[in-house]
């Protein structure tokens, strides 16, 4: 009985270890690559620990990438989008959630279904398309109608 228990423990721990190694593998690879210099990047069987730990990539990324402003501008944009999304969705969802839980009214069930079906991944994943299509609904069509008509090609 005790031997079986120990065996079980060993099995579980080795499984957990293997699993975490597999999960961490791409992340380790990413970190290792980020610490490589340009010449070490192109060594054919890729090395795991760079011969010289090279932190310049991090500095370069913060200083030079993109429009010369570095990562700051991207981080700023991400912050704006993230906080804007949170604020807007809170503003929209708090009244809706309050109403759904507090009031009983005609169309309550229908509204919940509408929320679910639109928040579900079917539309969520097609949102890539819808967002672009949406853009196109307003702009591309407008362009097609106005500009291309004038261009007359």
């Amino acid at each position: 009985m005790t031997i079986w228990k120990i065996l079980e423990k060993i099995l579980i721990y080795s499984f957990a270890f293997m699993l975490s190694v597999i999960i961490m593998f791409p992340i380790i690879s990413m970190i290792s690559t980020s610490l490589k210099s340009w010449s070490e990047l192109w060594i054919s069987p890729a090395i795991w620990i760079p011969n010289t730990i090279y932190f310049d990539n991090y500095i370069k990324v913060w200083q030079k990438i993109g429009t010369g402003l570095g990562l700051t501008i991207y981080f700023r944009n991400s912050m704006i989008i993230a906080s804007g999304t949170v604020l807007l969705s809170l503003m929209l969802s708090i009244p809706a959630a309050y109403t759904i839980s507090r009031y009983k009214f005609k169309g309550r069930k229908e509204f919940m279904f509408l929320i679910l079906i639109t928040q579900n991944d079917s539309t969520y994943y097609f949102n890539y398309v819808f967002i672009y299509d949406y853009e196109n609904v307003w702009t591309i069509k407008y362009l097609l109608r106005c500009n291309f008509n004038n261009l007359n090609f």
Binding site: I12, L19, F25, W42, A46, L92, A96, R102, S122
Partner: protein, 294 residues
């Protein structure tokens, strides 16, 4: 309490007033575009921007396009493989993790990492890792002695690219499935297993006659949810292979993107979007009616 009761009885406009902003946004950003797209798929758009009603001609044209048919087949294969892998691997990971042992919570935390990291970052990491001569994946296989110097270019061969993208997709999606499985496993009452132990049931019997039937609802949820997610796995495919080499990893969504924003064939893009939407809508509808709780 009195107030609530009163509001239940008398009809008032107040709930509709509160719902107005969210309904407005839903209609503006989701419902209206959907109907606009479905409506536009019945029109032919000339290069001049004029719209001519053509009925179902767009759909007929679409199914004579061999690339679309190919990508449709590819998508079906992709969905079946991905959902099956998710179901099996998710359960395979969740079962041992659910077993009480020290370090349980550490593993659960590590497990969430691929899911919690931004999808684009993980995909770019994998893309470089799967690189033929310079990637770490081949380096690892080389250390293990499985391959030697002219390293295979995984994302350059048809089968390798498909399996590679599938692997990346499963890697990023598996934590979610495992978490659903874990929550399902944790809700199985312990007394069932105790009763089975007293009756002398073996491990296999306990799994077959207690765990699996108890997980039935979870499995159905995962199948539907993963089917919906798999149909739309655009980010992974787009970043790792761009649908290439030669459409071998092309899915409906990536082809849709290409038709819309590389070929600028709007009528065709609307038609593909409508077909994709209908397929996904059916699955979402089933999913919601299955999980509908009032």
């Amino acid at each position: 309490m009195d107030k609530v009761k009163r509001s239940l009885k008398t009809f008032s406009l107040r709930p509709y007033f509160f719902l107005l902003p969210s309904i407005f946004f839903l209609f503006l950003f989701i419902i209206y575009p959907i109907f606009e797209i479905i409506y536009s798929s019945f029109f032919y758009i000339t290069p001049k921007g004029e719209e001519r009603f053509v009925g179902l001609q767009n759909y007929l044209d679409l199914f004579s396009d061999s690339v679309f048919v190919w990508s449709l087949k590819n998508t079906i294969l992709w969905v079946i493989l991905r959902v099956t892998l998710m179901l099996i691997l998710g359960l395979g990971i969740a079962l041992p993790i659910n077993y009480p042992f020290r370090g349980n919570s550490i593993i659960e935390t590590i497990l969430i990492i691929p899911w919690a990291m931004p999808l684009a970052i993980v995909c770019y990491g994998w893309k470089w890792m799967l690189n033929g001569p310079y990637g770490h994946f081949n380096s690892l296989l080389n250390i293990l002695g499985l391959i030697s110097q002219p390293f295979p270019e995984w994302l350059g061969s048809p089968l390798g690219a498909f399996l590679g993208v599938l692997g990346v997709s499963v890697y990023t999606g598996l934590p979610f499935t495992t978490l659903i499985y874990l929550s399902g496993l944790k809700s199985i009452p312990e007394s069932l297993y105790e009763a089975a132990l007293i009756d002398g049931a073996s491990i296999w019997q306990r799994f077959r006659y207690i765990t699996l039937p108890q997980l039935r609802a979870v499995v159905i949820t995962i199948i539907l949810l993963e089917t919906i997610i798999s149909f739309g796995s655009f980010t992974t495919v787009w970043i790792v292979t761009l649908g290439g080499p030669l459409h071998y990893t092309e899915l409906i969504v990536t082809y849709l993107y290409k038709v819309a924003f590389e070929f600028f064939n709007w009528a065709k893009a609307f038609t593909i979007a409508t077909i994709g939407f209908i397929i996904l809508f059916i699955f979402s509808f089933i999913y919601i009616s299955k999980t509908w709780r009032e």
